[in-house]
């Protein structure tokens, strides 16, 4: 019996093993190997100050968080600007012309066991003619892979570590608000403020967007901090819930940033500067429920106004109209015609209901001025 159970267990393990082996989990990535304890940003990006013509050394830690051994490619690229002004890294196929060229890695690939990491040293040599200000590059960590032809869009993945280099010299830190666009998207408003970096170093800017009613009541506000790269116009899409009732609102933004010469991650002696951006008047369509409520209220107001008008008119008529004794030949239409009013008005003011029959000698109210037809003058 014991042997039988052991056999069953062994078969179970053999069946389960391939599934476990093929179900790869985790990913590969990397981080700076020697972060500066005084600068928290250096845990995730490289921040260097390099005088032109000098070289600095560092290392990148390549991490294999998968359950299998991996060959991981490590290479440097230039930085590029992605859509919306975001930081991005060039592809290996693009070659290097700027900071990517300054970086020399000790090896181009490294084999890393499952759940282990390896350090890859590198040097950054700033050329003697390096322009003052911030220069950016990337160190890329990517699994070495070959892919078979598959129709459609096939995807590859990589983790990039930004290499931000400050070349000392005349440093200008300045951003200028550009404008804001607002787009309605189902139940959301997408506010897209944009700012331009007119300096020569990147700026970590607090961007605050606000939607206010025309009375100034804040409907929604959001603040986020984003890097604005040197020389670039950057924009972001802030999504916020649409004001329930719809109508006219003001959408605005402002930006706050440290205008001191502190470089990335240096938070000492900040000189905060806030600049207001554009304010835009926007019309927001109400939600369906709000629209129905507003429609009902609108119709109610119109109907109410009509009845109020009729009531006031009736009140006035009661004061000014005079008694009229109905003659045997009269009916509502003939009397109304003589008074130059609508017969329905005459009926309503006298509370005469269908079939609108008048009795001779009945007293009714009329405007008072009888427009009897003058008899035609005899022809001469």
């Amino acid at each position: 019996m014991r042997n039988f159970l052991a056999g069953l267990l062994a078969i179970g393990i053999v069946i389960a093993m391939p599934a476990a082996a093929f179900a790869e989990s985790g990913s590969i990535g990397g981080r700076p190997a020697n972060p500066d304890a005084s600068n928290a940003r250096t845990k995730s990006i490289f921040v260097k100050t390099i005088t032109p013509g000098t070289t600095v050394e560092d290392a990148v830690e390549v991490v294999n968080n998968t359950n299998v051994k991996k060959t991981i490619v490590v290479y440097a690229t230039d930085s590029i600007v992605s859509s919306g002004g975001a930081f991005a890294c060039a592809q290996a196929a693009d070659g290097t012309n700027n900071v990517g060229k300054w970086i020399t890695l000790s090896q181009s690939s490294v084999e890393v066991n499952a759940y282990e990491s390896a350090k890859v040293p590198f040097t950054i040599a700033a050329p003697s003619n390096a322009e003052p200000g911030e220069q950016n590059g990337c160190i890329i960590i990517q699994e070495q892979k070959t892919t078979d032809f598959q129709s459609g869009v096939s995807l590859s993945f990589r983790t990039a570590i930004r290499v931000a280099i400050l070349v000392p010299g005349d440093i200008k830190k300045e951003i200028t608000p550009q404008g804001i666009t607002v787009v309605e998207k189902s139940d959301k408003l997408v506010l897209s403020p944009s700012v331009k970096n007119t300096g020569n170093v990147s700026v970590d800017a607090d961007i605050t967007t606000t939607v206010r009613s025309l009375l100034g009541t804040v409907q929604s506000t959001q603040t986020s901090t984003f890097p604005v790269l040197r020389g670039e116009v950057t924009n972001w899409n802030f999504e916020t819930a649409k004001p329930f009732w719809g109508g006219l609102y003001n959408a605005s933004f402002n930006t706050t940033y440290d205008s001191s010469n502190n470089f990335i991650g240096d938070d000492t002696e900040k000189e905060l500067k806030t600049i207001d951006g554009q304010t835009k008047l926007i019309f927001v369509t109400p939600s369906l429920v709000a629209f129905l409520i507003e429609f009902i209220i609108f119709v109610g107001i119109i109907v109410g106004a009509y009845y109020l008008y009729r009531y006031l008119a009736h009140k006035k008529n009661v004061k000014t109209w005079v008694n009229y004794k109905v003659k045997p030949s009269d009916n509502l239409e003939t009397i109304a015609a003589k008074q130059a009013i609508a017969w329905k008005l005459l009926a309503r003011e006298n509370n005469i209901k269908a079939p609108y029959i008048l009795q001779a000698d009945q007293i009714i109210k009329v405007p008072g001025k009888v427009h009897a037809k003058k008899p035609a003058e005899p022809k001469k």
Partner: protein, 225 residues
């Protein structure tokens, strides 16, 4: 000593030994168990609904028929079974960007299996319907629209607050070589896991493009800010 006394004495002896052993055990109980959890790294990849990495993710465009006129096909990156994930296990403490670019760079093309037929992904001339003054002699333009995608936080302690989706953007050689899918602000969760589904794709194909199966490799890059 009768039988009862012998049994009682034995029982007492056993209890005595047990108590003494227990005392010794308490003295040895000061051992500390330590456990270190190392921080992970910022990564992006495609995973299925069980969060298992998809080895070679591919996203098909809608099928189309040969045409003498310029035409458009559409597709989607990210689905319930192929989710575009970003993990930030405390590795990026001031936000990150997720971008998408052609692996072959600005001179990349849609190619057939034999690389004998191709069309462009970043030629803006007449919205991709004609060849312009870029480096190749091919027309075609790919537009990526992350604004229509759905961003989902996939952990108990994280949210999508401070993470903005990019705007619909068409590749244009040397002007827009990379499209921003996500930008996470410094104030977004430092520890979080998110995924995108439903990123819109739209490709214009120039007229008279030979019928064949075509592919383009795009690289998703996640970069700490």
């Amino acid at each position: 000593m009768n039988k009862f006394t012998k049994v009682a004495a034995s029982a007492l002896a056993i209890i005595g030994v047990a108590l003494s052993v227990t005392t010794v055990t308490y003295a040895a109980n000061n051992t500390n168990v330590t456990q270190t959890i190392n921080s992970g790294t910022l990564v992006t990849d495609i995973r299925d609904a069980s969060r298992v990495t998809v080895a070679s993710p591919t996203f098909a465009m809608t099928g189309t028929t040969f045409s003498f006129n310029c035409q458009t096909t559409t597709g989607t990156i990210g689905s319930a079974s192929q989710r575009l994930y970003v993990d930030n296990p405390g590795a990026a403490n001031a936000g990150y960007t997720l971008t998408l670019a052609a692996t072959a760079g600005a001179t990349g093309l849609w190619n057939n299996a034999g690389v004998t037929q191709s069309f462009d992904f970043n030629d803006p001339t007449t919205a991709g319907c004609a060849d312009g003054a870029d480096a190749d002699a091919k027309g075609g333009q790919l537009t990526v629209n992350p604004s229509v995608s759905t961003l989902t936080a996939d952990c108990s302690s994280c949210s999508v607050t401070g993470i903005t989706k990019g705007t619909s953007t068409a590749y244009s050689q040397a002007v827009t070589d990379s499209v921003t899918l996500l930008t996470a602000a410094a104030g977004s969760d430092d520890v979080g896991r998110w995924y995108l589904t439903g990123i819109g794709l739209s490709q214009t194909i120039p007229g008279e493009q030979p019928n064949d199966s075509y592919t383009i490799n795009l690289t998703a890059t996640v970069t700490a800010s």
